[in-house]
Symmetry: none
Subunit: 247 residues, 2 copies
């Protein structure tokens, strides 16, 4: 078991990161430490249990795929003895896990590959709700997302321009935008985009995504705000450029 409890100026709480991939453990740990959290790590179910026994943990970040045990199982096990907030890390195309994960007692989930910024937002939200004692009362509040002055309401599925004009999005445009927002500042391949945005299976030469991007861009250009939002990366895919703020 690794315990990585480097102290930080302001202590926002003890977080336990559980993942069998050492890279991810390290990445997440460093990031959270920089934001004032104490971080413990564990790589399997056994060390998870031990850490929970030995330390007072405020929240757990848990990969759904652990060697030997599913994250859902782990989730239930934890829930038998504790109501500590849990955020699941799910790989793409594991929507089933996300649903059953929430049923299994998780409080929120983040899809890999995730932006640390998003993870942080979710963590804060979960901790806030946990302290308020109403973790199960309110659903995960992933509803308002801001970028470049735009406001996107995921609950109402509406998009407002910086000028406050309501733009309406088709289902496909909505799915695509959500995908970008959840993986902002990262180059997404056409393949990933199609999968995340729930489009139907992609032949290698499928240009559907290009057309959908084109349609989304047209709507995002309506604003005076001249900044480019979705940038093409030749031979790779597309990136969503603006800084994204959750909630």
């Amino acid at each position: 078991m690794e315990t990585n409890t480097a102290s930080s100026p302001n202590d926002h709480g003890n977080i336990l990161v559980v993942d069998d991939d050492a890279d991810i453990r390290l990445l997440v740990s460093k990031f959270l430490q920089r934001h004032g959290y104490h971080v413990h790590t564990a790589s399997d179910a056994r060390s998870l249990r031990e850490t929970l026994k030995r330390f007072s943990i405020d929240a757990i970040i848990l990969d759904v795929m652990l060697p030997g045990i599913s994250g859902i199982q782990a989730c239930r096990t934890i829930r038998q003895t504790s109501s500590v907030p849990i955020i699941l890390l799910t790989a793409r195309s594991e929507e089933d896990f996300r649903v059953s994960g929430l049923e299994g007692g998780a409080d929120d989930y983040v899809t890999k590959p995730f932006s640390p910024r998003e993870l942080l937002a979710r963590l804060r939200s979960v901790l806030r709700r946990s302290r308020g004692g109403d973790l199960n009362t309110t659903p995960p509040d992933r509803n308002r997302i801001l970028f470049d002055g735009w406001v996107f309401d995921t609950q109402r599925r509406e998009l407002n321009t910086p000028e406050g004009v309501l733009i309406d999005l088709s289902t496909g445009e909505y799915n695509l935008l959500v995908t970008f927002l959840e993986h902002a500042n990262r180059v997404l391949s056409r393949e990933m985009l199609m999968e995340f945005a729930k489009m139907r299976a992609s032949d290698p030469f499928d240009r559907t995504i290009d057309v959908q991007i084109s349609r989304l861009r047209r709507k995002l250009e309506i604003s005076e705000n001249a900044e480019q939002i979705i940038k093409t990366v030749r031979n790779a895919g597309y990136v969503f450029l603006p800084k994204v703020t959750f909630e």
Copy 2:
């Protein structure tokens, strides 16, 4: 038998949670405890009886599916010796249970998967009526549901626009709206909608639900309030957009 009587600052009463699924017992217990109730739990009919004998219980939350005994049976049995309020937990597609459950002496029911918020609302309502001593006089008062300024009275089956105009709904429209309200902000497939809204079995190409949605929408558009309420999700189903408040 488990007894889980952690004390809470304000004591709102002793609740007995009966379910064979440990996860649900735990989830519900924690939640109710956080809201100031003493919680006892039982996993089968025998421990239910024992708990009732040993403690003064103010309300029972009872899963209809218990190993060895139907919740309805349990309900009747309890009623032979007590008039304690009972809330049934029913899985979906157990509509029969809901009806016969109320006949069997239950005071209200909640359909799984349920929001803890809704359960709490029902529990409060049942306790309030119980203390007033008029539990059998008045039907379950799951009556006021608010969304986007609209007021829906399930008892009278009436819907009022934000302007206060009364809209009347047919049975089918009522069922559909209730389904949406109980599962707001969630994409519901046509299949689920048909099942929940008690329409007759659905062939894969049945468009009945679309037509019913269309009819409901027409009534919901009467208000000046231009906001869209039910949104179509292509290839998936429909979502009810507004935030819903039970009271």
